[in-house]
Symmetry: C2
Subunit: 200 residues, 2 copies
């Protein structure tokens, strides 16, 4: 099944396995995903998966970690004194839309692994930076102080994230997510985020 006419391409194989794993895990979750399917999708076989990465759980964690590293770069965080909260929420909405994997992986994680979180320190740091971006803006009077910084940023993320958490409910509320509907949703998210953060 491998297309390696001349040499071993172990790095490439690893990468393809990770890509396939991200896709499969996001789609079917930790339980619904089979190593077999990941392997064939990646043009390899099970043994390679077990050999390169450990068992299924290890692979899931690895995929989630990579995905988190990606988003950290994709939607950077500054102070919300300089960046409008609404625009930021809109960008987060866009990101969820064009790369639904992370959102789905996190939700699988929330449902299946409830307590335990891999790379907790790293992630905590990432989230703390976002909170800091809010409190900075609060100190400068650009954002309301009637909601704690960490609660506020989380709520803003809620506005952008719930749509893909329960897409079936979203559809029943607002109709099929056509391109236009997506634009409407995005506009609503932006407006709502601004309203939540607005200074008095």
């Amino acid at each position: 099944m491998g297309f390696d006419p001349v040499a071993w391409d172990t790095e490439g194989t690893k990468r393809r396995i990770l890509e396939a794993a991200a896709s499969e895990f996001a789609r079917y979750g930790p339980d619904g995903t089979t190593i077999e399917r990941i392997a064939t999708t990646a043009g390899a076989n099970k043994e390679r998966v077990y050999n390169y990465f450990g068992g299924k759980r290890d692979l899931f964690r690895r995929v989630l970690r990579d995905e988190l590293a990606t988003v950290a770069q994709a939607v950077p965080v500054e102070s919300f004194a300089a960046v409008d909260v609404g625009d930021y929420a809109g960008r987060v909405y866009d990101y969820h839309r064009e790369r639904p994997e992370l959102n789905r992986l996190m939700r699988w994680e929330g449902l299946a692994f409830d307590g335990e979180v891999p790379d907790e320190a790293l992630r905590r740091e990432y989230y703390a930076a976002k909170s800091a971006a809010v409190s900075d803006a609060q100190r400068r009077g650009a954002v309301t102080t009637s909601i704690d910084a960490d609660h506020l940023i989380f709520l803003v993320l809620s506005l952008a994230g719930w749509w893909s958490a329960v897409p079936q409910v979203a559809r029943m509320f607002t109709g099929e997510p056509t391109e236009e509907e997506h634009a409407r949703r995005r506009a609503a998210v932006v407006e709502a985020a601004r309203r939540v953060a607005r200074a008095p």
Copy 2:
């Protein structure tokens, strides 16, 4: 294993199976749940489950439908001209907290069954009633018109629901959900919902 000293208690068995199924499905999801475990938890055996309800999927749908019927009564919908949007959001947050099953089931549904939704007509009607409660308030000037009614109500539900969708993220943002922290989260949700809906 059955505790029926005198007569067959088929209704009771059905009920116990449904209760066990709700708990198991909410906890482990459609894939992680085993019929065996449902049966033993309910003090019955597999064959009863298959006989009373169909396969696993049928049972899942049944459980979800029952849960939806319950919530429809628990958090009734009126016009948001009479009821404060913040209070309503707080009640929804409370409901998610004290009965996490529905939220989890909906999220499993969103992840595992993506497209297909059982009892779509019923649910659509339920959601439409909520949207109507918003548009009524908008007509009366009690709620902003700068966000569509259906988007607005969905966003309010986001504020209350995202906490349990990604509990691990919530924890990393705002710390362990002690009783106090829950109170803070609830207050933030209430305040944010009011801000989103506030009329000019």
